[in-house]
């Protein structure tokens, strides 16, 4: 697999697994407007995933569905952050905030990069990511600066998720951590939340060593497609 295809796969997997998790909220969100908003974001992520996966599979003659439905967890390249359980709404918002700010920065950089196809997809996706980041930041501030309970939950979410953010900046993405941190710290500050200390930095997603959650997510996601090999839907 070429470096470009590998990168497209990684970007696609991040977006796909994020979409799958976000869609779990459908019909369960804290308010109807938020149900719609989360579904929107899931749809954006899914849309980006399809473009990236299509591109990733071209060289090896695999479709977006081949890649989404016929790999097992050891072959997925998403960061661990996106596969973590949704937890409560604060955890979901925390995951989205950390991911979307990262995605926006990454897409911005790719949109200026040498690969034309990646640049095109990234140019489209970055606008969406900017909206996702804004939406997540808004909720982070509301929850952080809302009630005592919401403050405590949002802080707990940020603390629990923080270790998983380091993995996002592995390899080529290392340069993005500084602008990412600046933006995240601003949002946390506005939300009256404490920025956790760096420390434990779990990783493995980029080489296919995931948490125990991913294979369960995939079991559900892939069950129907795999039960009918070669069928058209």
């Amino acid at each position: 697999m070429s470096d470009t295809a590998a990168l497209a796969l990684q970007l696609g997997d991040d977006a796909l697994i994020a979409a799958q998790r976000l869609a779990e909220w459908c019909s369960r969100a804290p308010e109807m407007e938020e149900d719609i908003a989360l579904a929107n974001i899931a749809l954006d992520q899914l849309g980006a995933a399809r473009l990236f996966l299509t591109y990733a599979g071209e060289a090896t003659n695999r479709t977006e569905d081949d890649l989404a439905y016929l790999r097992d967890d050891r072959e997925f390249r998403n960061a661990l952050l996106v596969e973590l359980d949704n937890g409560d709404f604060a955890v979901t918002i925390g995951k989205l905030l950390f991911l979307a700010v990262f995605q926006r920065l990454r897409y911005e950089s790719l949109a200026k990069g040498p690969d034309r196809r990646l640049a095109e997809i990234a140019a489209k996706a970055r606008t969406e990511s900017a909206y996702h980041a804004e939406h997540a930041a808004l909720w982070t501030v509301r929850l952080g600066d809302g009630t005592d309970e919401s403050h405590q939950r949002m802080q707990a979410a940020v603390d629990a998720l923080w270790p998983y953010t380091h993995e996002l900046f592995e390899g080529d993405a290392a340069d993005l951590r500084r602008p990412w941190l600046a933006e995240i710290e601003r949002t946390l500050g506005e939300a009256t939340l404490t920025r956790p200390a760096d420390g434990w930095a779990p990783s493995g997603g980029r080489v296919g060593v995931h948490t125990e959650e991913l294979s369960k997510l995939l079991a559900e996601m892939q069950v129907l497609h795999r039960a009918h090999p070669g069928a058209t839907w």
């Binding site: 459908c26 600066d145 009630t147 939950r153």
Partner: protein, 317 residues
């Protein structure tokens, strides 16, 4: 110069005539207009029930988002379920023009004082159910709802125009799912037929009890909330489905279904109205599950809504 009390009195004595005139002229009653209390109550009940149905209706289809067989289908289904949330919102907004709060209505749904369409108390067992719901359930909804676009209450009629446009899009998607399945592998075709077998009669029951047993109907007709009887709409639906089933290559599970040249319509077997009554009463396969799901979402989200309120208040200080 009149006092405001006098104006109100004037308004109230003149109002009934005005209301009757609007209805008679097939014009729209608007929120500012006087309307009979019973008209208002009927509309609130109907619109709220309709809104609740959109919200509860997210569950049976939502059940298959995580397992949709291709990414494209996943996107289409997610967008569809999202549309239903949107329809819920328009409808709650229409109900609010009648002087109730959405929160109040949601409470009534959650504690069982208001109902939602019984169709959503059936389970979605396979992917083909997503197709069958689109084709049959959305199809029935459209037949029910198209006349509501001409309903005498303006905000409701306008909401319905928007909703019907999206519903017919959804119906086409469902039809297309079934078409693909029925032209796919033998297992896929069997899955499609099985889904149609299970959803056919519950869809017929969506039009409500037979005209003879229908309460509220006559008055709703006079007020031009309702324009056709349950049985008229049911017949229209059957005739439409027969033709489409042929193209799909699927059987409708009614051995007595046949064209009646004299009536220029299909004869068909009525759904089991006792079953319908049991499901309305709360004894469908999924009533408890749907309510528990909704209630859990509502309760789990309470701290979030509270936080949002608290934050908003701080901004206004």
């Amino acid at each position: 110069m009149q006092t405001s009390a006098e104006r109100r009195l004037d308004h109230q004595t003149e109002a009934p005539d005005h209301f009757d005139a609007i209805v008679a002229a097939d014009q729209k009653v608007e929120p500012r207009d006087w309307m009979p209390e019973a008209y208002r109550k009927t509309l609130i009940r109907q619109i709220a029930q309709h809104a609740h149905s959109e919200i509860i209706g997210m569950q049976p289809e939502g059940n298959w988002i995580s397992r949709a067989p291709t990414l494209k289908r996943k996107a289409i289904l997610l967008a569809k379920v999202q549309d239903e949330a949107g329809h819920g919102l328009y409808l709650y907004a229409a109900a609010e023009t009648l002087g109730v709060d959405r929160e109040e209505l949601v409470e009534m749904l959650v504690d069982g004082r208001q109902k939602y369409s019984s169709i959503f108390n059936y389970p979605t067992l396979t992917w083909a159910d997503i197709g069958a719901i689109g084709w049959l359930v959305d199809g029935a909804a459209i037949v029910n709802q198209v006349p509501l676009c001409r309903c005498s209450y303006g905000p409701y009629a306008r909401a319905m125009i928007r909703i019907c446009k999206e519903e017919s899009f959804h119906q086409r998607q469902g039809y297309e799912i079934l078409h693909t399945l029925s032209h796919g592998t033998p297992e896929q075709k069997a899955m499609a037929q099985d889904a149609v077998n299970r959803w056919w009669y519950p869809s017929l029951a969506m039009f409500g009890p037979p005209d003879g047993d229908s309460t509220h109907s006559e008055r709703s007709m006079a007020w031009k909330i309702k324009r056709f009887s349950n049985d008229e709409l049911r017949q229209r639906f059957v005739d439409m489905c027969v033709q489409q089933a042929g193209v799909l290559g699927l059987r409708l599970p009614d051995p007595d279904l046949r064209w009646n040249e004299e009536r220029r319509a299909h004869d068909y077997t009525q759904p089991d109205y006792d079953e319908l009554m049991r499901v309305i009463k709360g004894e469908g396969p999924c009533n408890r599950q749907r309510m528990a799901h909704r209630r859990r979402a509502h309760e789990d989200g309470a701290w979030v809504r509270e936080a949002a309120r608290a934050y908003a208040e701080k901004q206004h200080v």
